[in-house]
Amino acid sequence: MKKAESNIVKILESWLIERLPASDWHWLEKRLNLIRDNNADRDLVITLGLIPRKLARADLSLTQQELATANTLHSGWEPTDWSIGTTARILALRLRSEFDEGSFGALFSNLCKTADLSESIALYSGVFLYPDSEMLDYQIGEGLRTNIKAVFETIAHKNPYPCDKFDQNRWNHMVLKALFIDSSLTPIVGLDQRANAELATMLVDYAHERWAAKRAVSAQLWRCVGPFAQGRMLDDLAKVAGSQNLMERQSAVLALSQSPDENAKKIIADHPELAIKISSGMLTWDQIHM
């Protein structure tokens, strides 16, 4: 008796059925049935390899309704950047993982080691949908160490795995690396929820390094500093609040508005227009770009 397939499998299938020409879906269904019937790694590997050769390269482009359903099935699941090919590959992987949870981590790790770019993106995009294992977790660490921005962002952006599973050290280094490689912090799931004092210290040190080198500091950096900003960190925020650049000023006052330090209020008082926009909800971190 085979286990009943999960709602995740069903929803992934429904997205593809909705979008693929019938002949393409029939091809994929045949390949998925091979995986269902034989549970052989060879069938999975060939299916993953053939997907971009058989299916058109296109974005998945889910409707608002479909996106809402995804978020209900797994909190933080935001497949707005998924392509058809990525979705088909994740469906095949998820299906395989449901039949044999125990061996999936090792298989996943091996697939990552020989993956091309679009495969890497598919493999890491779906990590929160696979059974937890030490191997899976280790391999995600390897993915974070990549030099390829798109692969890093596949893990860091719109992916609930880091927020759900990373320990504080790995979380902090992911946020710092995002800034380091000019990647945005805004799409990180759980960015505010996982903010912590140690990260705030690391980020302020990083800002000082950038200033010493006469390089720009991302306005987004202060988002993770604000809730822990006190003492000398307020001097840094006061400096940024006096910047020529409006977005930098906005970010500093936003951060100050979250500070637990009473002295923050004094600095905010020098920026009444921004303070009003923040208290009325007209200015939020979502408006602070790279």
């Binding site: 390899g49 050769r53 296109a58 974005d59 392509s83 020989t114 390829i148 798109a150």
Partner: protein, 308 residues
């Protein structure tokens, strides 16, 4: 003029080379799997190397607006390590289906040993099964006979010459290769394989049908602008533009495009998915700058001494 360099070992080259190639008109290049300059001692090195040319190098090229493709294969030198060769043959089919793999290659003979012959034949069979073109490396020594033999073996295995590029030709081999219906590639590699003035002589004598120019630049003293400098010299010497386009662009695209993995739209009209991930777009194609063969000495000297 848009150019393609269909034989480059970018894993051994610097970012300066990528910049200069993009500035001189290279829109796409092909990185054949090859020998690293010293022997690999185990299949793990091979796996990492092949992963690198299907992954990281493709990404690196994309940052300079150059589309990167590759070929996978067991090279002739390492075919002589039987234990390694057997293990590589096991992993090749998986890599041959990766995105951007346009051929099995570079494969063929070095010293024309029995083992080289065995794995050359096995890889020809693999190419036939997967319907992929083949890039044949012809030997440096005993070249003329080695080239003829390579084609004999391809025909023995029933491969269509139109799917096969015979590489590293010279004045002595070109006629037979063209007469037998193969693509004839030339590597503009200083001091050893072919110089660009000799290359223009060949274009004058044979025309450009089925002729492909590449640089084969690698870890040796070689020239990543080999294709660009040949195109420029050919035009200066009065070779018609259409012939230069065939030899330095279109023929490579026609030959390796038979894999289904390499299309002109990849650089002229890239998918948004690609632009988000691996390809930054080519500055020449975005307009503005005229392609030029840049003088690298301008950048590469200590007088230009500010590093930011």
């Amino acid at each position: 003029m848009m150019l393609i360099d269909p034989h480059t070992h970018m894993i051994s080259r610097t970012t300066d080379d990528y910049e200069a190639m993009a500035a001189s008109g290279i829109v796409a290049l092909i990185e054949p799997a090859f020998w690293l300059g010293q022997p690999r001692t185990n299949v793990g090195s091979y796996i990492d190397y092949l992963s690198s040319i299907v992954g990281f190098e493709r990404f690196r090229a994309g940052q300079f607006g150059i589309r990167h493709y590759c070929t996978v294969g067991l090279n002739s030198k390492e075919a002589n390590n039987e234990e390694l060769a057997e293990a590589v043959m096991d992993i090749l089919p998986g890599f041959a289906l990766k995105e951007g793999v346009v051929a099995i290659g570079e494969i063929g003979y070095d010293e024309q040993t029995e083992l080289e012959d065995r794995y050359f034949r096995q890889q020809l069979e693999l190419a036939k099964e997967l319907e992929l073109p083949v890039m044949v490396h012809t030997p440096h020594r005993d070249k003329k006979r080695g080239t003829s033999r390579s084609m004999d073996v391809c025909e023995e295995h029933g491969l269509d010459p139109s799917m096969i590029v015979i590489d590293h030709n010279n004045e002595e081999t070109v006629k037979e290769v063209l007469d037998r219906g193969y693509w004839a590639a030339f590597s503009i590699y200083p001091s050893t394989k072919m110089g660009n003035s000799r290359m223009v002589d060949i274009l004058e004598q044979y025309g450009a049908k089925n002729i492909i120019v590449d640089s084969a630049c690698d870890w040796g003293i070689s020239e990543p602008l080999g294709v660009a400098k040949t195109a420029k010299l050919a035009l200066e010497r009065g070779i018609p533009k259409e012939m230069v386009r065939l030899a330095c662009y279109q023929n490579a695209l026609s030959a390796y495009g038979q894999s289904g993995q390499m299309k002109e739209s990849d650089w002229l009209n890239p998918e948004p998915i690609d632009q988000r991930t691996i390809y930054e777009g080519n500055s020449i194609l975005r307009g503005g700058r005229e392609p030029l063969v840049e003088d690298l000495s301008v950048r590469r000297n200590a007088n230009n001494n500010i590093i930011e």
